[in-house]
């Protein structure tokens, strides 16, 4: 029991400490692909360090939500790591507290509070960012639900650990079209939810075109650091769900030993690095969609998820 709790803490620590690295890596690879030098891979750590040592400015008009929201946004990906297989393929202490739907709820609770905080400060851009992120998320929501439906059709469960074991144990299901389509839809969801390029431009500084970034314009100091860190962790948690549960469910620790856990950390890191390279390729090769083209992009994701569900009963 104690070992399980310890391992769970390890999972949380891995997500907490490695997530800025992947963000830095993503920026670095993208800049390299565009033939620029780019900032160091460790730049997000420096940024967080700097922000935590700065004073915070809070509008006198804002309420407690503005102070409270960054903490919720920061904690929600960490809660999700308790539910998903980050390092081990056997369920840990809290694995059965919730399934993938619960993970989705926890993540969206975080973004909900950030949204409230963005509107709380009363700036125009905050409102605009809030309404745009809501538009994207409201389109992403049905895709999430359909993906969960298809997964539960295929694996007879939505508990991430059981789903992961299902893909490992039945290669026939792993190579089925359902699985491929679910993965494709989930990648599109990740791009949309974490504000990556076909939907949003994370490097853009033009307020009128911002979607995700416009929500955090009002934050400063440690609140901004928490929000940024939460964003990094959200990306890492979603990619870990994709990699460890759906796309490559191998390479996790299968024994209750520390060495196995360390090896798993290395393997999972390599997998996420691979996914980061993929995202970098997508981000550099595509252009940002116009706001009113986003429903088209997510519509394709929706069709993909629905087709995955329709096709499933024919491949048992």
């Amino acid at each position: 029991m104690t070992v399980h709790i310890l391992f769970n803490l390890c999972q949380v620590l891995v997500v907490l400490l490695l997530s800025p690295f992947f963000q830095g890596l993503l920026t670095r690879i993208e800049e390299r692909m565009q033939a620029k030098r780019g900032p160091s891979v460790w730049q997000p750590y420096y940024d967080l360090w700097k922000l935590f040592h700065k004073n915070e400015v809070v509008s006198a008009q804002s309420t407690w939500i503005f102070r409270f929201a960054p903490y919720v946004y920061f904690v929600s990906p960490l809660l999700v790591t308790l539910l998903i297989p980050v390092l081990t393929n056997y369920p840990l202490f809290m694995a059965f507290m919730g399934d993938m739907v619960a993970a989705g709820f926890v993540l969206s609770a975080g973004s909900f509070f950030l949204l409230l905080a963005a509107m709380d400060a009363g700036t125009v851009y905050g409102f605009m960012g809030a309404s745009r992120t809501r538009m994207v998320s409201s389109l992403v929501e049905p895709i999430f639900i359909i993906v969960f439906f298809s997964v539960s059709f295929a694996a007879n469960s939505t508990i991430p650990y059981i789903v992961q074991a299902h893909w490992v144990s039945t290669p026939a299901a792993f190579y089925s079209p359902t699985h491929l389509l679910i993965v494709a839809a989930f990648i599109m969801i990740i791009l949309a939810e974490t504000g990556k390029i076909p939907v949003d431009n994370p490097a853009g500084h033009f307020e009128l075109a911002m979607i995700d970034e416009a929500r955090i314009l009002e934050f400063s100091g440690s609140s901004l650091a928490l929000v940024k860190w939460g964003g990094y962790m959200k990306f890492m948690v979603l990619s870990i769900v994709l990699l460890n549960v759906l796309l490559t469910p191998w390479g996790l620790a299968s024994h209750l030993s520390g060495i196995d856990l360390l090896a798993a950390i290395v393997r999972v890191t390599l997998k996420v690095v691979g996914f980061v390279v993929l995202v970098a390729v997508v981000e550099t090769s595509l252009a940002k969609l116009r706001l009113f083209r986003i429903p088209d992009f997510l519509g394709i994701a929706f069709v993909t998820a629905v087709v995955a569900m329709i096709v499933q009963p024919f491949h048992l």
């Binding site: 190579y175 079209p177 494709a184 088209d296 394709i300 087709v307 329709i310």
Partner: protein, 232 residues
């Protein structure tokens, strides 16, 4: 005897994955707004079709299916795109966004409905069928439907023609699974496809030269000059 069976099983699975991508390519082809993107997705779709033909040829030990795959690659992935780019270079490469009669979200919903329908209609035939038929028949039928739909909602000559060829792809995709079709037939169909593309491409080029675009919906007037006569 066990080893080949295992690899056959994996091949059938790969065929399923190819089927899923084939279906997806038809949906994406339907939503693309630039002529060049439509052409690229058509090439991808044709390559997926030929991969499926190769796999089925290997599984059923049929040399003819292999030839069908080869003809598909040559005719649809190389010859037709080359022909189009040669005859209508600037029209294909233009970055202009093409129009639809129906907007994209509605089209996507209709595509879902067509998918459900094609599975629904094919379902009675699938009882106890082989795994390859289980994939190819409904997917082929669905791509055929989506192709017909794309053909009706597109206003431009080039995407319409590619939708027509995508219908052809869908029909062949279903066909290669249910019958050991003769390579002669596919050779004839492949050549016919090339001919159709050639004729339509030349037509479209003439159209572009006279009207200034390949938008088919412009063709409601008999003469260019008539429009001014009507308005004045």
């Amino acid at each position: 005897m066990d080893q080949p069976l295992v690899s056959n099983h994996i091949l059938a699975n790969v065929n399923s994955v190819v089927g899923a991508s084939f279906l997806l390519s038809a949906v994406v082809l339907m939503t693309q707004r630039q002529a060049q993107a439509v052409l690229q997705w058509f090439i991808r779709q044709s390559i997926l079709l030929s991969v499926s033909a190769f796999i089925l040829g290997w599984l059923h030990h049929s040399a003819e299916l292999m030839i069908v795959g080869l003809i598909t690659v040559v005719a649809k992935a190389i010859l037709i795109p080359q022909l189009l780019v040669r005859t209508l270079g600037p029209e294909i490469r233009s970055r202009r966004e093409l129009d639809f009669i129906v907007n994209t979200p509605v089209s996507l919903l209709i595509a879902i409905a067509l998918t459900v329908l094609s599975y629904f209609w094919v379902a009675p035939l699938l009882n106890g069928a082989k795994e390859t038929i289980l994939v190819n028949l409904p997917v082929g039928l669905d791509v055929l439907f989506i192709g017909v739909y794309t053909l009706t909602v597109r206003r431009e000559a080039v995407p319409q023609m590619l939708a027509l060829m995508s219908i052809d792809n869908g029909a062949f995709y279903a066909g290669i699974a249910i019958s050991a079709s003769s390579a002669i037939v596919e050779l004839a169909a492949g050549l016919e496809g090339v001919m159709v593309v050639l004729v339509v491409a030349i037509l479209a080029r003439t159209l572009a030269r006279h009207v200034g675009s390949t938008e088919v919906s412009e063709l409601t007037h008999l003469k260019e000059g008539l429009r001014e006569g009507e308005s004045s």
